[in-house]
Amino acid sequence: MATDAVRGARKVGRYSLLVFVAVVVLFPIYAVLLQALKSGPDAFDHPRSLLPVDLTLDTIRAAWTEGDLGHLLMNSLFVSSVVTVGVIVTSLLAAYAFAFLNFPLKGATFALFLATMLVPAEVTVVINQRTADSLGWMNSYQGLIVPSLASTFGVFLVRQVFLQIPKELREAASLDGVGHMRFLYEVAAPLSRPTLGALGLFTFLGTWNAYLWPSQVINDDEHRTIQIGLNSLKTPNDISKFNLLTGGLVVAALPIFIMLVVFQRQLVRGLTAGAVKG
């Protein structure tokens, strides 16, 4: 066994390594945050100072008004929330059918579901834009929301949890005359609450971060989401706004960072749910 001195040295070594790695990982975020908290001549000192002095909210404030970030955030919040609720509902329903019901071609249908997970958005976006167009959904919340309401991943995840609910529970309920919908909302859904929370968070993040589809279906200021709106702060024709981008980045990332800290456990569960049960 190691002596105390050796163990102490090891501990110091490990902490230094941890701190070093943490600094490296955090550096981009720190640097951008610092940049966003400076304005005017201070922002582009040469050589660039990494000390947090002369901080001001001017840049963030300017980005907020210039980029209409409040509006963009509300759009993202609204769309992500609706999609999250929708995905939970559709996933619950489909997962129930796959886990508790028997019907012809069940295996094939499930395989079809899984196969859609592999179709890259690159294949579907052009045609989907057409579909949205013919439905009159360009520049609308429907266009942003509806195509995302079904999640194969969600169906898969919830089904996994449902499969772990003892069959006897469903049988006992059916002897009592509990219908499928009632069993779903009174027994199956409450029993899968941790997974549903995780799925919700996962979906929320995914929708919040979506880039390709929103950029294709939205063409107006009214419905634009924050991810797409950020790009307008990096517009090539307007050199004067270089630093606004950093302010926009901070505003766009902040809500998610807060969510990460608050819901860390659910997030971890959501992300790992797919891994552990493969």
Binding site: E168, L169, E171, S174, L175, D176, V178, R182, L191
Partner: protein, 342 residues
């Protein structure tokens, strides 16, 4: 069928159940006919995989018979949904809703049926009272012991006052002591309730102590139906003879003590030490059980087990012994079919 209308006779007519298709088809229940009288405590007894649970589940409506008819009362219920069959079922795993309290679990069947809140609370309380659960109403199943959970499952079943109780090995998850106590409670419960019980088990002690009748099943068929005493005294087949009784009946090879087409069986308590008896062997093991002694002997007719009085002279291991049995205690079975011949 209306709630609480008790016409509790259960009749199975030529019921069969096959699982799977083609080459993988397995017959779980093979052409079974059985009459269960009103307020009877019928035990379906058999080794695991004999089809007894499948049979029970067909009565419940959880499985559809491949052939044959199931009657509850005077109604053919083959196409009736479980909830309309006026039955309640207790599962081996209890199937309690883990996220609901004991009270909510017990009330749930009534809630589903739209029983008014006050009435439902009163009846749940009554059922809980019957099973001694009143102190645990606010707990969730996870906070209860196995025995308590089992009683919650029972309470949830009786609260509905069903015509027929179906129980699928409800005691198998309990320890030995608790199992004994609960057996008595169940018999008591059966006496108090105006319901028919159908009880599936592989434990012959449960069958012998609780059932008004026992149906012994083997490989999808019923070998014998009768009172526990009948089944023990006059087993209808070599299988029943060996399945019931501990230690099991000695089955002598064909020809020994009988003719070429008959196999003879003797229960250990009927095998008596008798110098010059027709069955001779060497003592291989002596089990002292307190109130009795089991004597194992290797003989030309295979291993024999005899139950002897501890007060008598016990032969030592290695000693040569002879056994005999009274003619009225010999059970004869057809050598090929195993069916009782006398």
């Amino acid at each position: 069928m209306a709630y609480g209308a008790h016409v509790a006779r259960v009749r199975l007519e030529h019921v069969s159940k096959q699982f799977g298709e083609g080459d993988e088809q397995v017959t779980a229940v093979d052409d079974i006919s059985l009459d269960i009288e009103d307020h009877e405590f019928m035990i379906l007894l058999g080794p695991s995989g004999c089809g007894k649970s499948t049979l029970l589940r067909m009565v419940a409506g959880l499985e559809d018979p491949t052939a044959g008819d199931v009657f509850i009362g005077d109604h053919r219920v083959n196409d009736q949904l479980p909830k309309l069959r006026d039955i309640a079922m207790v599962f081996q795993s209890y199937a309690l809703y883990p996220h609901k309290t004991v009270r909510a679990n017990i009330e749930f069947p009534l809630k589903v049926r739209g029983v008014p809140k006050a009435q439902r609370a009163a009846e749940a309380l009554h059922a809980a009272d019957v099973l001694g659960l009143t102190d645990y109403m606010k707990r969730k199943p996870g906070q209860l012991s196995g025995g308590q959970r089992q009683r919650v499952a029972l309470a949830r079943a009786i609260v509905r006052k069903p015509a027929v109780f179906l129980m699928d090995e409800p005691l198998s998850n309990l320890d030995a002591k608790l199992r004994g106590d609960t057996r008595t409670e169940l018999v008591d419960l059966h006496r108090r309730l105006d319901s028919t019980f159908i009880y599936v088990t592989h434990d012959q002690v449960e069958a012998m102590t609780m059932g008004s009748r026992v149906a012994v099943m083997n490989a999808g068929r019923i070998e014998q139906v009768g009172t526990p005493q009948e089944v023990y005294d006059r087993p209808a087949s070599a299988f029943v003879a060996q399945f019931i009784g501990t230690p099991p009946m000695n089955l002598l090879p064909v020809g020994v003590l009988g003719t070429d087409d008959v196999q003879v069986g003797i229960r250990p308590e009927h095998l008596v030490l008798s110098t010059g008896g027709p069955l001779s062997g060497t003592v291989s093991m002596v089990e002292h059980l307190g109130h009795e002694v089991l004597l194992h002997a290797e003989s030309g007719a295979g291993r024999l087990v005899a139950r002897v009085d501890p007060a008598s002279v016990i032969p030592a291991v290695g000693q040569a012994v002879q056994f005999d049995a009274a003619p009225q205690h010999l059970h004869r079975f057809d050598a090929t079919s195993g069916v009782r011949v006398s």
